[in-house]
Amino acid sequence: MIRNNRMKRYSIVSAVVAAGAMVLSTLPAQAADPGVTATEIKLGVSTPLTGSAGLAYGKVPGAMKAYFDFINANGGVNGRKIKLVVRDDKYLPTLAATQTTNLVLKDNVFALVGALGTATHSKAYTAASLASKNVPDLFVNTGFSGFGNTTKYPTTFTVLPSYAMEAKIMSKFITENFKGQAVALIAQDDEFGVDGVNGFAAGKLTLANKTLYPTSSITDARAKALLTGLSAIPGKPVLVLFGTTDVTALILKAAESLDLVGKFTWIAGSVGGDANTLLALGVKPATITGVLAASFFPDAKDSSDEYVSQFMKINEKYNKGVSFDNTVLQGMNSAMLTVQALRAAGKNLTRTGLIEAVQNKGSKFASAGLVPLNYSATSHIGYNGYWFGQLNAKGELKPFGGTLAIFTTDSAAGAIEASTYTRPALPKNGIPTNS
């Protein structure tokens, strides 16, 4: 018994000592923000490079890197070169969570830029403790309106107009141009798709049919079954596809094989509506002709636009072998916004400083977008509008009805207004000089 008591005493003493050691030991305070040295700024992105989403969106990090290389070759940002660390998350939420954590803990990036995907990034944001670590999360590649909630995502800045905004403007467009036709929706069953559904409700559009499919569950057979069911709707229903490009392509190809292309008026949501990717995934040009799509950029094939032509030149030189399309345009545009944000944050670069720079000066950044950026001390929301166009066989998006009509709105119940915005001119040679 005495021995047991001694053992007990030893264990208690050691536990107390351990607790004391733990309480007394303090972690060293963070001196400077990680990822910034005198010569380099390290940025990170978790995005799909492989898998079905990788086929559609894999060009984005390369495009961003090309623009950063261009800037690095022209003096960098306040003497520092930008290095982009890319990690593949295959559009899987759990992988995005670990990759984003790796970016922050292992790669020690200064900020994240262009994180892609709604389900992926919402998981990754919490898992990597981005809020408590104050890691700036710039220009996320997703339109989920929830990312504009600064209580939940204090360091996140959206850039794409939200899916709710898109659905609202789409509702107005459909009601005005396709009176009397039934409207059917096929959307991804996660926050992205549901955001769209809410937007359609806010836009007061009644849906004759609504199909929400679990991500990655659409197969050719399922698409055919869906379309066969929808073809029973009389007249020429409007069919809205609110999914990723690989799924949009699958559905269009299924329609081709069922000879149902002419049955519907097709509207491709922004996420899945890039014509060049659809063509690359095997959709016939004849099917693409006439598909309606919304955009807030000039069309990537419109070389008369100064931003497009400058980005095309950068793509030629720094992103050899990659064809220039809307995905590349979007990537380079985000990179240009990032460079302006880094410049605005000043030579003494801190994470807090970067966040404040976007808040205070972001609305004036030069960008290719045809709608305004809405950053302010109270808003982390980027673009907020769309124009509607029709695709032709070459994959170009031309304004519907001939004239460009841009509308802006919010993600809630606000009105849809015609926009009178003119965007800032392109900085000379595409190199920002803001401060």
């Binding site: 021995r3 001694r6 053992m7 264990s11 050691s14 536990a15 351990a18 050691a21 733990m22 309480v23 030991s25 303090t26 972690l27 490079l49 492989t50 990788g54 593949d88 295959k90 899987l92 939420p93 759990t94 992988l95 969570a97 670990t98 954590t101 803990l105 292992k106 389900a119 998981k123 919490t126 898992a127 403790s129 408590s132 069953d189 996660d190 926050e191 679990p214 991500t215 990655s216 569950s217």
Partner: protein
């Protein structure tokens, strides 16, 4: 001090290990704390495999599915029922255990490749079930937020240290309990069934019931490991439990000796180290995206094959053989 029974020795060993982990966790940076949590979680999962395969002789290729059951149970109790995280982990263990009990009853007659095939089918199909029931959140999954560390630990106490503490404590307690179980009558009964089922039956052991008990306990432990895994990635979704996870766990168990619980921590370290090694290999060698994506899986498989060829009983036996 000399009068210690092996049970008390074991308890002491675990307390000592816990103390060492506490001190180590303090010294290392957040990245190592994060990786350490994964090591603890994998060690626990490997322990469940050792119990089932090494001790009771039942081969399961479906432990990722059992982890998924525990994970979803834990996530739903936090997210929907708003229970305390500790209770959520206990629910995870119990739910997976009950599931394993039912499953065990169904497959108790199966042996060898037939059992393996059934569990394989389970591993492939179970995660997709999440897409059928909206409450399970589909591909997006359910959030599992274990919350921030208690304020009394101070400002410097990081989220990752908190994960490390929770995982290590859960793993330590559970592995200690398994260790006690395996050194008791049940452990001997398991081994009797593994070595010769007919002799065991002749000796009066109710083989069916013991196999089911082994399955249930192993599933419960796997469920706890699943709950810990989703705590670390802050959410559960089908993509967290691919088939490759089952194979990784099996590899971890075989590499460190499937017949003995002593090597579990090493197994956990191996499983965490492989993606890291693959990562640094690809950055050094470079290579296409396809290469990067498949390299960890390839390393796991290669390791399993090498282990089975050269050290089927674990490295311990290999060293003993060399000494002779």
């Amino acid at each position: 001090m000399l009068n210690l029974t092996s049970n008390k020795k074991r308890l002491l060993l675990f307390i000592l290990l816990g103390w060492v982990l506490l001190l180590v966790g303090d010294r290392v940076g957040e990245l190592r704390q994060y990786q350490g949590s994964f090591v603890a979680m994998y060690s626990l999962a490997i322990a469940s495999i050792i119990l089932l395969t090494g001790y009771s002789g039942q081969l399961s290729l479906g432990h990722s599915a059992l982890m998924a059951v525990g994970a979803y149970a834990g996530a739903l109790s936090i997210n929907n029922a708003h229970l305390h995280p500790v209770i959520a982990l206990i629910i995870a263990t119990l739910t997976a255990g009950v599931f394993g009990l039912i499953l065990g009853v169904a497959v108790a007659r199966l042996t060898g490749p037939y059992l393996a095939g059934t569990t394989l089918a389970l591993a492939v199909s179970l995660p997709t079930l999440a897409n059928q029931f909206p409450i399970l959140g589909g591909e997006q999954g359910v959030v599992f937020d274990v919350g921030t560390p208690p304020v009394r630990f101070g400002e410097g106490f990081s989220q990752y240290k908190w994960f490390f503490w929770i995982s290590s404590l859960a793993a330590l307690i559970m592995i200690w309990m398994i260790s006690n179980l395996l050194n008791s009558r049940y452990g001997r009964t398991f081994r009797a069934i593994r070595d010769n089922q007919i002799s065991a039956a002749l000796a009066g052991i109710n083989t069916g019931r013991v196999k089911v008990i082994a399955f249930a306990v192993s599933s419960g432990v796997a469920g706890l490991a699943g709950g810990l895994l989703v705590m670390l990635i802050s959410g559960v979704s089908p993509s967290a439990f691919p088939l490759s996870l089952s194979f990784s766990l099996l590899t971890g168990a075989v590499v460190t000796g499937v017949y003995n619980l002593k090597g579990v921590m090493l197994g956990g370290l191996v499983l965490v180290a492989i993606p890291e090694i693959a990562d640094s290999l690809t950055t050094r060698i470079g290579g296409s995206e396809g290469f990067t994506a498949t390299l960890p899986g390839f390393l796991v498989s290669a390791l399993l094959i090498l282990a089975v060829l050269f050290a089927p009983n674990g490295p311990g036996h290999l060293i003993k053989r060399k000494k002779r």
